[in-house]
């Protein structure tokens, strides 16, 4: 046997028993979501708990069937065991068994938010700057329609947006909880009444922003490495004020309860932790995040994307987070 054949044989034998896990696709998609700009609609998680389990939800099968939001309004409130009566009233609607993600692509963001909440899902919103869909409509969703997912599962919707400020809402029906753009922020370093004095070299403004996505009076934006595709972030910041700030303060108490040690950033006590997607749990391999109270009623959270952190190296990423935190000040 010559050496090439022997080697081939040895390599084949070494990996013969290895098979990729069937859940690989899920794992990959889960990982993928972690790199996307996060935008969680306020209160969605809390609301989920209140939705009755086991209620069939009537959903339109076609994304272009407009009255979905209206015909849906009552169904979530019907008690267990009561069939979704409105499904019968319209030829367009079908009863979707509880636990199957509806098709929401193409619908307006506000409508979808309500619809998914009715179905018992936690709604996460990401935005993407694109011309391929009208601004304010859902451009993509995750998981895909028809996928089985239990009540309470997170459904991420990607809303198309324009680079500039969102055109004023024509119908006046926009859910106040849905993200709103703050418009052109120039260098993107001043929002929510704070100014970002330091950013890692090479980052530029991600050209989007959102208001009230993390609670009323919260503001967020991101900075990216040039060339990063829309919807991705390198560094994202959220400013919490008033009520939103008190929610953040509770989260920080939660970190302390989970054993996190405070660090010092710009003379203030901060928590530098790896967080789960929802942001409330400390998790190995989570997103590196620094949170602190900047002033009474003003909390700030800065996170670094796992990709960018890997590029910088863990220690350098943590140093950058602390430097960013130290450079954030109230805007005078």
């Amino acid at each position: 046997m010559n050496v090439e054949e022997a080697l081939r044989d040895a390599m084949a034998a070494q990996v013969a028993g290895v098979h990729a896990s069937p859940s690989l696709g899920q794992a990959v998609r889960r990982r993928s979501r972690r790199h996307v700009v996060r935008f969680r609609t306020a209160g969605a998680a809390v609301l989920t708990a209140a939705v009755a389990v086991g209620v069939p939800v009537a959903l339109t099968a076609r994304p272009d069937a407009a009255p979905a939001g209206g015909s849906l309004a009552g169904t979530g409130a019907t008690g267990p065991g009561v069939p979704a009566a409105s499904a019968v009233s319209s030829g367009d609607t079908v009863a979707t068994p509880e636990g199957v993600v509806p098709d929401v692509v193409g619908k307006s963001a506000a409508e979808v938010n309500a619809l998914l909440k009715e179905a018992g899902y936690t709604v996460r919103v990401t935005k993407v700057v694109t011309d391929e869909a009208p601004a304010g409509t859902v451009f993509a969703q995750m998981p895909q329609p028809g996928t089985a997912a239990p009540a309470g599962a997170a459904v991420t919707i990607t809303i198309a947006t324009t680079a500039g400020p969102t055109p004023s809402d024509t119908e006046g029906t926009q859910d106040p909880q849905m993200p709103q753009d703050l418009g052109d922020l120039g260098d993107g370093r001043t929002l929510g009444g704070v100014h970002v004095g330091y950013l890692p070299e090479g980052l530029e403004w991600g050209k989007w922003s959102g208001k009230d996505g993390f609670g009323k009076r919260s503001y967020t934006t991101s900075w990216v490495e040039p060339g990063l595709e829309p919807g991705m972030y390198s560094v994202q910041m959220i400013v919490y004020r008033k009520d939103a700030a008190s929610v953040l303060a509770k989260r920080m108490q939660g970190y302390a309860a989970q054993g996190a040690e405070p660090v010092e950033a710009g003379g203030r006590k901060a928590y530098l932790v790896s967080l789960s997607e929802g942001g409330d749990r400390i998790l190995d391999g989570g997103t590196r995040t620094i949170v602190w109270t900047l002033a009474p009623g003003v909390g700030v959270e800065v996170m670094i994307s796992p990709d960018y952190a890997a590029k910088l190296g863990k220690a350098a990423a943590d140093r950058e987070l602390k430097k960013i935190a130290a450079g954030v000040a109230l805007d005078k």
């Binding site: 050496v3 080697l7 390599m11 034998a13 290895v18 990729a20 991705m232």
Partner: protein, 166 residues
Amino acid sequence: MTEEDEAAFDEFLAARSTALLRTAILVCGASASDAEDMVQNALEKVYRHWPRIRHDNPEAYARRVVVNGAISKARRRKVLQEITFAQPPETPVESPDLGLRDVLVTELRKLPARMRAVLVLRYWEDLSEAETAALLGCSVGTVKSQAARGLARVRARMENLEGASA
């Protein structure tokens, strides 16, 4: 990402993920679970660019990401490996039970990461010298010399073993 893109990605995974995982294990000399983590990482990149690359040989793209990831991972593991596998190459195999395959795999692991990648791509993936060079971003000449040196080391070990058992 359209529904059809998602379905095509699932098909791609079903057809190719095991092969990618095996290649990753061979190139970085890691355990299956380490390699799986690496493959997930690589596939996440594939997934992110999927609508753009799916019609343009996604397999080659995925393989490139996996192999380059495996090489850099293997380099990080190198110190550890050298301790684990350190033994003078001229020493005959201590245990007669240790078959030829195990010896070769052990020898393969001792090679520098890039040289090992060349051998895996050439003799496991059956890529041509030109394809291997394109994937690793080096010249065909480098692939030839790395393959020759790698094979020579494996051959020396093999002959050593045959000499010992004769």
